[in-house]
Amino acid sequence: MKICELKLVIHSPLPTPHSPPPLPTLMSRLLAIAIWLTAIVTAGLFAWSKWRLPESVAAHSAMIDHQFKITLAVIGVGFLLAHAALGYVVWRYRAKDGERASPSQGNARVEFILAGCVAVVFIALAITGQRVWARLRLNQAPPGAVQIEAVAQQFVWNFRYPGPDGKFGRTDPRLYRDADNSIGARPGPLGLDPNDPLGKDDIVTPTLVAPANRPISLSLLSKDVIHDFYVPALRMKQDAVPGMKINIHFTATREGRYEIACAELCGQFHHQMRAYLDVKSPRDYEEWLKKNGKQ
């Protein structure tokens, strides 16, 4: 005990009017290290954590994932550079007794060059990002795509297939019968007009059944409030807005069952609005169509 105290006395420098006070040094070191550490841990979590993009079965996902990686790399570099610099100035430029700061008021040239570089990088990102979007959303579904309708309502997804005639029958909001939702039910939850011959062969199901490796053209509708058709495994999200018919298209490459969620707050049980995307082999799909279309 005594020896420790003695050591402390010997080692602590005598306070002189011109030596920097110990606390600013400590604070500057601590803060710089905290800034660097935060940046490294944050960047590390983004790069290597086990929480990653969900596995994807969409044909377009490679394009999106590539753009995400490029963007992450760009912002990662910017983020780390900014934090490296912030930590550096905090470490280096603490107050010292009797010393004055540099009176520099800025450097317009450096500023212009930097703003120019940032602008080039950001606009390049925006343009490459637009190419991805354009390929997904600015073209029509290829001819021969499977036509399906997704109709959202508070807390259920309905899907409709046009049947062998390839045409959807007329629906009427006054005919909605949510309780009677078996596949062959008329008018059923979508209010199929029993007098319209086009609707006789329509199939209405709670599961989105789709053939693998064939483009799917999906029309999104809503019966009540805004919902959002969200399939993590498709890297895809699109609002279903009442009064609008919004078309999207995609191709699923692998058979399996994937979860469909609602991503736009739609009410009390928003978090329970689940359906499945069932991707079948083309043969199984045709069989499924035949089996359900007869009724």
Binding site: S28, T42, G78, A95, S104, N107, F122, Q130, V241, L265
Partner: protein, 585 residues
Amino acid sequence: MSEEIQALPQIKKPATFIGKYVFSRDHKIIGLQYFFLALAAALAGTLMSLLIRLRLAWPQERWPLLEMIFPNGFSDGLMKPEFYLAMVTMHGTMMVFMVLSVAPQSAFGNYFLPIQIGAREMVFPRLNMLSFWLTFASFVVLIAALFVAGGAPIGGWTFYPPLSAIASAGPGQGAGADLWLVSIGVFCLAAFLGSINFIVTTLTRRTKGMSLMRMPLTCWGWFTTACISLLAFPVLLVAGLLLFLDRNFGMSFFKPAGLVVTGQVIEGGGGSPLLWQHLFWFFGHPEVYLVIIPVMGVISHVMATFARKPVFGHRAMVTAMLAIGALGFLIWGHHMFVSGMNPRLGLAFSVLTLVIGVPSAVKTFNWLGTLWGARIRFTTPMLFAIGFVSLFVSGGVTGLVLGQMALDMVFHDTYFVTGHFHMVMGVAAVFGIFAATYYWFPKMFGRMMNETMGKLHFWLTFAGVYAIFVPFHLLGIAGHPRRYADTLWFDFLKPLEPLHIFITIAAFVTAAAQLIFAGNFLLSLRKGARAGDNPWEATTLEWTVATPPPMENFAGRLPVVHRGPYEYSTPGAAKDYSMQTESLD
């Protein structure tokens, strides 16, 4: 120093307590009223966020004690999903409107704008009083929404119709939603009136020598923000009015034909849900900037003081603020990439969104430039200012992900978005508010805040907000939609539950750390060391007046300004700071 330049007519001093502190026309009292209103709202908003976090971490846990407090929000001790959504809505509304739109602009702006430009008062003191009391009324109405039948609205702070237009669309969408609309309408009116006062005061009440470029960057922040408020709030006011008419007077601005909610066909038709989104975000995106721009001003101001250096690139800082303010009106569509808006429209919004990153990067660069070659004094306000820069960068860069349509399609309405905006307009702005509080507390209350408690508060909060909001991004990358009351219904969400538990624990620790701030605040009010007129050795006009500043600020003698706002470490000067009122010779 200051000289008498005109015989100032004496404003009649209020004699009664009510005239002095309640219906006050003194901009400083009004500033403090706004400040305490924001503190109360921050307390309410934080408590709401803790309730949200409880449900997310332990959705199947029973909370009988909470059920005693909120009998309608719980059943058998379990938090109902509609109560969770009501808390989500109210937390967002409380924080965005009553805290972030009030504290940086209305509170500190009201208190310090007139002093910093050398004015005795705001141009329209009565209007100023009206603005505050309207804001207060709006706060009361918002709180009342919690207690009406059905509870508070559940549609989120963005209030998208038709969910918000139809009372039967969910619990809380009845009277609660009407009160919400009334509250926000009144708030918009108050903010609009306040902005007029700020603009006219800045343009007409600057003292002799106070040219625009000699104004501190805080004043530029408040001025720019007032211009944004002037243009943005009326749009939300009108949108809210239309929605109110939809709800209560049979109009149909936002309801298309053929809606069926809970089996009932809804009357009306011809309206468009997207119209609301355009109007809302035409306000809502500038809103983000009207939160962050005054904070940027505060950060520059605090940073110059404790770096003992002029702000790096003063003119560029002003230009960047104005550029952000103007560009902020052109990018609202980036909230609507997957809304059903024509996908071609997104192209323009996306490019402009990334372009607004440029002035933001310039500002960050200039803050680093200000610290370069500095002699930093690590006071508590300075720690928060440096912390702000870190958070602003961390929250800002993810905007480059969300600004791209194809990536937004993946991350829209996931926790990635929630993490992004909490980082940049949430806690970064809150760090600005803390910096301003620690910095100006001595001027406002005449006493210093405790530095040890302040530093402890900083360290816990800095670590806490990263621990909370970095995992938000990870949840988002894994695909977790926001506003989900639990993760029990989806296989892809179940593995994310441990992150929710971690975030909730971090949130409770960080919230508890705010008690240190509250304790420090209350203790320092009574027992803090007496502050002199200029405890930080700063240069601007608020440090030339008495502490706390008297009625009309300058005791009958308006100051004359001879210098720029941040003349620190001027070579050859006797001290390392030259106040704006010091003559050049």
